[in-house]
Symmetry: C2
């Protein structure tokens, strides 16, 4: 049973602050292990990758070529996956593509009033490494959500890594890679895979950026290679915040809260409503649905340990709370969601109205499901085409306008004690 | 004397690769010290900040109020700074503002062919902390380059921290803060200042993002608070790459190379030209100018240890090298810089033609001088308005279009073993 708060309670602010401050992740200290693996792969390349793969994934392989997934194996995977799943993946791919195409930033080039030319020019990152977890969290939808924006951006090469412990490889993930247009796939994982992507080996050419979710080893490796390559965000456990008026079917809302909770025992589902009756009805519906949910153990633990139901007098009062929570996913299950949207400042994605369950956004809505967690929507955004392009500034002066703005640059160079800066301008103006 | 390479040399590729791989920064291992400072400030707040400030900045202060810079002190600073410098700062501020205003991303809201509504909505980060180094590297231009884009984005609160060792505070920095519209200023620095901004204290309200350059302690602190707050890039030593044809004044190019070199003994200046004669003339001009440059010791060390002159047969051959170097600053001092610009894939900022010395971009060009260093222009961009806004995805289905795309979401939820996801869609479709 989740906690229940009411903004009428005397201790509401204290308890709400505790809810916000609550840590849901136990950080594993794997940094020193990861450092050694990275150093080893940087020095010994393929040989080190093979050894770690033998040790951690129990694969008896002596040649990296065996770890590269052949086109034939992907063909085979396409046959193994049911047509309905392939069709759903293709629908998802197409919708993600259409939505992300609108995110492509435009170059800007202009001349200012005194004749200085300025501009911003966007180019795609040349190569991207995509980490896909093995085992339970090996999701084909995640392959699409990471690879399709990169393709839309114009990334030429997408190298995917996915561990195959004991040789097990999810054919859905290979099918999704094919559908998304991934260029190469290697059956490696963990810190050694991140190292191979960042530093390169004889077999795997280095990439410029590494994206995708992973366990504590992968996250620590990404933090460490950051700088050598770019990385995406380090995602925490998933979360949903549902804001609901009284006029909702409690079963629908309970299903949404549990869809989030089933991800992970440290996922978090929160309901804010102005109806204490609805709150109670949803709590009861959650308990009923937990009886039939296959992942009831995980979802039940998440709901019990991190779930929360917050009753407010008036939904107007929900918005300061919504913006402090800064949820990854925010559902507005209310009569006029548009009016409420204007009050939302911090959220990864907003799902408007009663017919937009968050799971639509996970799969086929078209928007990205890689979103800022752990209140980071206060300062960051979901994955987008912008993560796969970079901007170059352009500046062009001529002799005349350099004469107009140059003296100010000389003044600032001198004020900052950088005479060489001042001189590089002055010398062109015969000053 | 910088190294000289020619692409005619048999060992060119090896030596060029070595140049690329060269480490210019000695990473100081201050991480455990920084961890303790962060933990201490998180727990003890103002009291800890006061103690570290007393210890590291030798300030005998017992009340945080004394570390808050008053409006009167800023008024005083405005009087101390020469009018020519103030005028130059105001010109720079206005030009930075105009350029960055064009970077503001536009909201997007649309309905797709089946009636699903989608969108992207941009909002400003609410509060930003701006770190400004004390001592030598305390540059007013850096205050403008960090604060103005935040103001343009709509950030409501900009809290600046700047250490004042022994009570010394650069009035130019205070003047720049006033001119840029900084909201509050505290005379604190180091990891304790980053902690105060990220976690908040009784005196300093926490911010959502911390930006600005700093020493190894500040960089380590920023890495550690990342997640609790957003951070900008961790900048490395500065660098310039000048591509020049034969038709250049060697003194101008030498001045540009030295303007970069004077920043730091680990800065890097590289010249690529198709004229061996120009190369020699520039090398000689550098030596001549070093005799009169105030910061000759720093600039000379940088040029000797990290400078490079690369002669190519033909400037066409420069571009694969330019894109591998991925310089922070790239000058195209050639007859037709526009034609060359099309071949540039990786660069932080490009300065076109003979009349655009890089120093113009440092101060008054209007583009940002916070740019990706150490080859990170392969995957990242300079500071911009985008660093101070975040995007929320919007999705809205109705009963009809949920019926169209919902079954694909159900199929994928089931394929991924997430029955709760499937159920949250199915329950709305009576499936």
């Amino acid at each position: 049973m989740a906690i229940r708060l009411s903004n009428q309670d005397a201790d509401f602010e204290t308890r709400f602050s505790e809810l916000l401050a609550g840590k849901r992740e136990v950080s594993e200290d794997v940094d020193h292990i990861v450092r050694d693996i990275l150093d080893d792969v940087r020095v010994r390349g393929d040989a080190a990758v093979l050894e770690y793969t033998a040790r951690f994934d129990r694969l008896d392989v002596t040649d990296m070529a065996e770890l590269k997934v052949s086109e034939a194996r992907v063909d085979e995977a396409m046959k193994q996956v049911p047509q309905a799943t392939l069709d759903a993946l293709i629908l998802a791919r197409d919708r993600i593509q259409s939505h992300h195409a609108r995110q492509m930033p435009k170059d800007d080039r202009y001349t200012d009033p005194i004749g200085v030319e300025l501009g911003s020019r966007w180019t795609a990152v040349e190569s991207v490494g995509l980490y896909v977890p093995g085992g339970l969290a090996s999701y084909p939808s995640s392959v699409l959500m990471n690879a399709v924006p990169a393709k839309v951006a114009g990334v030429e090469r997408i190298a995917m890594v996915v561990p195959s412990p004991d040789g097990q490889l999810n054919p859905q993930v290979l099918a999704a890679a094919r559908i998304a247009g991934v260029s190469e796939i290697y059956c490696i994982g963990g810190a050694q895979a991140v190292a191979a992507l960042a530093y390169g080996t004889d077999t795997i050419a280095p990439v410029s950026k590494v994206v995708g979710p992973g366990n504590a080893f992968v996250a620590a490796a990404k933090r460490r290679v950051f700088g050598t390559v770019g990385i995406d965000m380090i995602a925490g456990p998933s979360e949903v915040l549902v804001v609901a008026d009284a006029d909702n079917d409690p079963d629908w809302l309970a299903a949404d809260l549990l869809a989030q909770a089933e991800h992970d025992a440290v996922a978090q589902s929160i309901l804010i409503t102005d109806s204490a009756d609805l709150a109670t009805a949803v709590e009861e519906a959650v308990e009923r649905q937990l009886k039939i949910l296959p992942k009831a153990e995980i979802a039940g633990a998440s709901w019990r340990d991190f779930g929360a139901v917050i009753v407010v007098d008036d939904l107007e009062q929900a918005f300061p709370l919504v913006n402090r929570i800064a949820a990854e996913h925010l559902e507005l299950a209310v009569a006029d969601p548009e009016a409420m949207l204007d009050k939302v400042r911090n959220a990864g994605a907003v799902f408007l109205g009663r017919y937009t369950p968050e799971a639509i956004g996970d799969y086929v809505g078209g928007s990205n499901h890689v979103l800022p967690t752990a209140r980071s929507a206060r300062f960051s955004s979901g994955l987008s085409v912008l993560d796969f392009v970079k901007r170059t500034s352009i500046l062009k002066c001529n002799a005349e306008n350099l004469r107009q703005i140059g003296p100010a640059a000389i003044a600032l160079g001198e004020a900052e004690g950088l005479a060489g800066h001042a001189r590089s301008v002055a010398i062109r103006l015969n000053l």
